[in-house]
């Protein structure tokens, strides 16, 4: 499966000045292929998250197109795109993304229950939690978890649906080196099992896990 961006661009209105636009991502081409682990580094504010969100079907580009296997995802209606995101794209957003009323296990199962009435795949969720090393916290509530544990929970959740695309926004931010290595190995493993993996980060710690390192600077991507 291939995720491809053609000439995608994102403009944001500048706060206060209604007619003035500011370009967060200049038109760029980008390809993400199965089995590959790609890293985009860049300073804070360089447009990494904006690009990642456009690739994830979360943020409509101001120009250009995003194709998933030759399907223009922003030509789909909201419902179909949401379903596509649920089935094909595993997104690990920046920061905390847990539902506080649910247990860790229930949080991991969430993507499944959105469109399936059948018994959720509890065993698989537990295996994933085991892989990310927080199986013992399965029944805990998110607010009992540390930042690193929450991040790992989000990774397990993003992998539950066995997505062909995995997009992670700063998955290692705020983690100690041990946790960082654990998280990156997991993503590397997902790529080895056939997923197309993109990690966005402002640090260099991912370098030796990756196939490609790209740099983003001022909204432009450099090889």
């Amino acid at each position: 499966m291939i995720l491809r961006a053609d000439e995608v661009r994102k403009d944001f209105p500048r706060a206060g000045k209604s007619s003035n636009y500011f370009t967060a991502v200049y038109p760029l081409d980008f390809v993400l292929e199965s089995g590959q682990f790609t890293v985009i580094t860049g300073k804070s504010g360089s447009g990494k998250s904006t690009l990642l969100n456009m690739l994830a079907g979360m943020l409509t580009p101001s120009g250009g197109k995003v194709f998933l296997d030759d399907k223009d995802i922003y030509s789909l209606d909201e419902k179909t795109l949401a379903r596509l995101r649920n089935e094909k794209i595993g997104l690990i957003p920046q920061g905390h993304t847990a539902l506080l009323s649910l247990t860790v296990l229930e949080n991991v199962l969430l993507p499944y229950i959105l469109y399936n009435k059948a018994q959720p795949p509890e065993k698989k969720a537990k295996d994933l939690l085991d892989q990310v090393g927080i199986a013992s916290l399965m029944e805990a509530r998110p607010n009992e978890l540390s930042g690193g544990e929450l991040r790992r929970m989000a990774i397990a959740r993003a992998m539950l649906m066995e997505p062909s695309i995995l997009l992670a926004d700063e998955p290692t931010a705020g983690l100690d080196s041990e946790n960082t290595i654990a998280v990156l190995s997991l993503l590397r493993q997902a790529a080895d099992e056939g997923a197309a993996v993109l990690v966005v980060t402002h640090e260099n710690e991912a370098d030796h896990f990756t196939d490609h390192v790209l740099t983003m600077d001022g909204g432009r991507l450099k090889g």
Partner: protein
Amino acid sequence: MISLKNLPYKNLKGYAGRTAALLLFSMLMALATFGGTMVISGIRAGLNKVESRFGADIMVTPEDAKNDFDAQNVLLKAEPGYFYMEKGKMDEIAKVDGIEKMSAQLFMASAKAGCCSAKVQMIAYDPATDFTIQPWIADTYTDGPMGLMDVVVGSNVTVYDNHIIRFYDNDCRIIGQFAPTGSTLDNCVYMNYDTVKVLIKASFKKGLNQYSEYDPDDVISAVMIKVRPGADIEKVAGDITKQVDGVSVATSKNMVAGIGDSLKKISGSVSFFTVTFWLIGTLMTILIFAMMINERKREFASLWAMGASRKIISDLVIREAVVVNLAGGILGIVLSALILFMFKDLIGQVLGVGFLIPGPVTIILLAGAALLSVLLAAAISAWIGVRRISRMDASLVLKEGQ
């Protein structure tokens, strides 16, 4: 295990404080709307019953009775009382044009003292001419015609197993009991003339009756009048006032007008409280719900990121609002019903008018309306919540803070 179906419940449980506040306010809202409309229709039901039970167009009472006896009051809130005029007034009244039927009644109040089982208003009627009481008696009593020392009692009169009620050392046999009217008619004991004469004489003997100079054979307390079809009630009443000395005349219309006025006043203030409570409840529900949605912005954005469509998220929000408001609404209605049933007599006393619990159909309709009013608040809350969520930029929310 978790499912899309039980997700709203888990969320509500997870935000227990907010949920409790929402429950409380929707409960208060239902309590007020159901309670308020029940009280208004209960008063209306009580007054309708009194009006139809009263059954006469005009009631003539002795003039001097006016001070301590008001025809309206006897229906709504009077203490039992007694007063008499000469029987001869009947013939004078009969001369007035436009009267179709007339029937005399004799009132007496049993004393509070040890002589009697209860302090009640006794009303004797003349079976030959009566048209106001017998239609109701026919509904209730089964034990053959009313004989000497037989009585039919109002719903508030306690009937013991032996069916005996004692007045001035005389045993009366209770042969029937009326359904409640929510008025003082419920405290009355009905009997025929022969019976009341025995009781009046007994009260004289005991010195418990201030009218001992009267011969019970020669007095009456009130004359109930039905006018001929087409006759003007006000005119007939006016003619009686003019042509007969020493009497006070009340028309059912007067009484109903008085009743209507007090009903309007009470309904007005009850409605005001009901609407105020509902508004406060709705506002609070909307506010709390909006706060809860705002607090959970990141959760909704996360759901969207993992592939929930806007519809799935909206449905979740709507179901949370409906579940919590419905639960609060049902609680409020049940609580309100409990209070009304437990304190129905007290409510009538406090309001100073007849109060009857409305029939089951009315209760169901009012409960349905109260639930709808609570669900309306749920709908508004959910609508505001859904709008907030659909307008939010999920990618931005996920970037904000941690």
